[in-house]
Symmetry: C3
């Protein structure tokens, strides 16, 4: 059983009888004990306080004190795809697995070339989305690993509604240290990075570099998933998975990328995001009148798209 | 001096000149320093900040800066009885020592056969009362010590107002491991357990077991006091004292009962109660629509009785 | 860079190009990152998140993503005087360095005879001001160091508005242990202590003692600054600096005074102030109806003066 707080709700996830993932409210409807403090047996969770049992649909399938009858706890649509558990926290009737972003690049990458991490971050999920939707920050926060060529790059933003694309093209630049294995200094490079955002907090980053003026091979792009799941109003689960299509069995390259990502994400992004959150506190982000810069274009469009989606959902619920 | 927060008030308890227990507000009326941070001398507490002195009635009996005059701090009726300090936190005129539940079984038990404990618990006191007023939980939470025969037992609830009795009769059952010294397995037993509740949080549990079909001797019942004093809205002092009328000088039996109670109360009840509290947070218990089961009968009657008593007291104060 | 929370605002202090102290809001106007998490270079602070740079006036002097234009962060008037940084948190137009209390006794004292300390204290700054404006507490809280003769001393309070003086004259008294190097027991002494308060939280204490009946030499008075800067509503920065005009190169005397002050301030005052704060919590001080004693005269006058000044400032802002 895996107990996690998602969007302020306590959820317990486990495998059903047939092995499929299940997600139900981690709270017995009787006396509110967390079901995750009980026992899992053959796809059924039994509350450790008074023995009520629930299946993955949230149905009571065992009541030692009477009939299970109509006893239920809430269940949540959940799908395992591309090595990720996708839980739908909204109206179950609106759950649509077809809208899950395609992360098949994860499965298609040999394990040795996949670098994954989970980063509990004490910051509102939108601050983390801002972070990825404005990669110029890498030039200042990650100068020794991922940054260097974003501020001078040409950018283009497209899309809208629930997805958005930002492209960075840096021509004849000094590439970030992370690209030095592909374009060693003092060689200059042409670098292209794309970030595709999917509402609410899923971003897929594609990045490629080659020596200046040589032909780009999109088949050599690296992909990194940044998936941000809100935990509470001031914290989020930050999942990432970085893959590459080259040197896929070279564990030394993997170790070096892993070290760079952990330096950037754990030692630099996470503290900065948490400091931001502490400064903002409970205030509404816009109420603080943030200065808008050209680099914020994609992040601001994402925030406005989210505001619209959140408003629309609130209207539907009324 | 013993400083404790009771019902949200900071209280300091100490012995007066003649040795009688005293309880006054642990807050100097001058600058609100806790008196317990001062000195106790001959039944008088002197504030460590500016030297005002108070006796157990809360009267100022020493003021180095003027006359004691009418300076007072609040005092609370307090009685030591049956090795327990009973403090009355309400209107002092309503204090009535005759209403203190009789716990003389404690004094009457030789020290070697008394097992006592204090358990600071991060849960609303009514959650702890619920716990004791529904012993079916022992079958699921304490299967290796106290539980096993409650779910199948016949129960009977009687009383009302400020006291309530629930009786459990389990006939020809597999007794809880705690009874194995009396009825060793695989023998079956007839077990009888009674819990008498006294408002607000005092419960006395009487328990006896004998081999199936043999005659019950009420004189061999064990008694356990469960006394729950609210500390704050989300925490309570849980005091317990378990006694037995047999093998009273057998320290090994005492050690084994003590181990069983600590496993049940400290390792199982306390974490579960604190998890419940975290799930409930500041919400009103009933607002969460708890599922009602037959096992909840006594606990729900106690909650309703408490609601009435609390309402009546609030009306009196208006 | 020195980052401190003053009056609930996060401030970063640093030296400008010419070496003068600077104080600006420790929050980038772009995404609210604390500037103190960035880099200081030649009097300019560069944000570690997206590279905006600010000088000590709060002007943006570097924007890698466009023109600095009118980008600003708040700056605060700051003056270094008498080894103290004085920051003005109010309306910058009202800042008036001429109103800074004269603490030249600090500079005029050789370093070996200056004893300084910073005490983060979890108490509202007015509780700490109360503490110093009523030295009678020393007789009860600091009997082994600073107290003994205040309760019996004659006091006189004068002044008003934004400054106030309380004088203590103890004639033919047993002086506090801290005076034993000047008047060794069992000799009696005449002791004079003055505390001058300057709004909001600056107090200068002058103290002198001589054998009973001998002539007082004001030139031998010791001076101690007690400067209390609010951090949040429930905490303050407590700075102190004690000087003496005699035995100024005697490091043993300095060590002994330092030990006495630390015992009194760190081990006795700070815990008592923090206990007071916990008892008071969020409540308004006066709403708790504190008992008023003659010893409170100066402290109460200071509180009333502060209330007036705070009201007047609030009126000005409207």
């Amino acid at each position: 059983m895996l107990s996690r707080t998602l969007l302020g709700e306590n959820i317990v996830m486990f495998r059903g009888k047939e092995g499929a993932p299940q997600a139900i409210l981690d709270r017995c409807p009787h006396r509110f004990a967390p079901l995750s403090a009980g026992r899992l047996n053959d796809g059924v969770v039994t509350c450790g306080y008074h023995g009520l049992s629930f299946d993955g649909e949230g149905r009571c399938v065992g009541n030692p004190h009477g009939k299970p009858g109509a006893i239920r706890t809430r269940s949540f649509p959940i799908v395992a795809r591309n090595m990720i558990l996708w839980v739908w926290m909204g109206d179950p009737d609106q759950a649509d697995a077809a809208r899950i972003p395609d992360c098949s690049f994860i499965d298609e990458t040999p394990e040795a070339a996949r670098i994954t991490g989970t980063l509990p971050t004490g910051a509102h999920y939108q601050l983390i989305v801002d972070n990825i939707m404005d990669l110029s920050h890498a030039d200042y926060l990650h100068p020794t690993t991922l940054g260097g060529m974003f501020t001078g790059a040409k950018t283009h933003v497209s899309g809208g509604n629930d997805r958005l694309l930002i492209e960075y093209n840096a021509v004849d630049c000094n590439p970030a240290p992370a690209f030095h294995s592909i374009v060693p200094p003092p060689q200059k490079a042409d670098v292209r990075v794309e970030v595709q955002w999917f509402a609410a907090g899923v971003m897929i980053l594609a990045a490629g570099a080659q020596p200046t003026g040589t032909t780009r091979d999109p088949g050599r792009d690296s992909f990194t998933l940044h998936s941000i799941t809100p935990e509470t109003d001031g914290s989020a689960h930050y999942f990432y998975c970085s893959t590459r299509p080259f040197l896929t069995d070279n564990v030394e390259v993997s170790a070096s990328i892993k070290a760079a990502l952990e330096k950037a994400f754990v030692e630099e992004d996470k503290p900065m995001l948490e400091l931001q959150q502490r400064q903002i506190g409970d205030a509404d982000f816009w109420s603080l009148n943030p200065l808008l810069l050209p680099i914020d274009s994609a992040a601001v469009q994402v925030r406005r798209a989210l505001d619209k989606l959140i408003d629309a959902e609130a209207r539907d619920e009324r």
